[in-house]
Symmetry: C2
Subunit: 110 residues, 2 copies
């Protein structure tokens, strides 16, 4: 079952987005609750613009979505993005398991 393939570029963006502690923290937080961009910005020891950039990176990677509400932008977690990253790693692991089993089989044939 090949599930909804992501292009290599999309995978690049996905993993790149997850490769930063601040961004992983944002993902964690907006998965649990709702935050505006400025709400997030208060949490980290960096400028508003820097946080804004991190949010943009996460959005390009489809890990979060933004929705305008009044003068605020509400940031929410996007389940699909996460799931797809996990699925790829699952596939790698499945291949690994197959290999381990194949070796076990070969040993069993002795």
């Amino acid at each position: 079952m090949v599930v909804d393939q992501l292009s290599e570029t999309e995978l690049d963006r996905l993993f790149q987005a997850l490769a930063d502690a601040t961004r992983r923290d944002i993902v964690r937080r907006v998965t649990v609750g709702e935050y505006s961009v400025s709400g997030l910005a208060t949490l980290y020891a960096m400028s508003f613009a820097a946080v804004q950039k991190h949010v943009a990176v996460l959005q390009r990677a489809s890990l979060i979505t933004k929705e305008k509400r009044g003068r605020e932008q509400i940031v929410r977690g996007n389940h699909d993005g996460l799931q797809k990253a996990r699925q790829l790693l699952d596939e790698y692991e499945a291949i690994w398991r197959q290999r381990v089993e194949r070796i076990a089989d070969i040993l069993a044939e002795k």
Copy 2:
């Protein structure tokens, strides 16, 4: 169950390492079979040194291991690294699921 936590820096390296198509391909290949560094180098349209760097990045991220055999370095997949990346994403997903269930509960209470 919190399983064998990775530091933020280690997670940075892990996801950073996976954020490149060539490196993901190397992970896939060495998970299935065995390759020397030069064996890998023949597969890609780039210099030997470039592939060597990619392998180094994967090694720093604990996604592969190298073992000297004669004049060659044999590259092998490292299951642990993969598994840890997947576990983190699993945790994110678990949090997400809890949130969805909580919302469902709230709606059910109406």
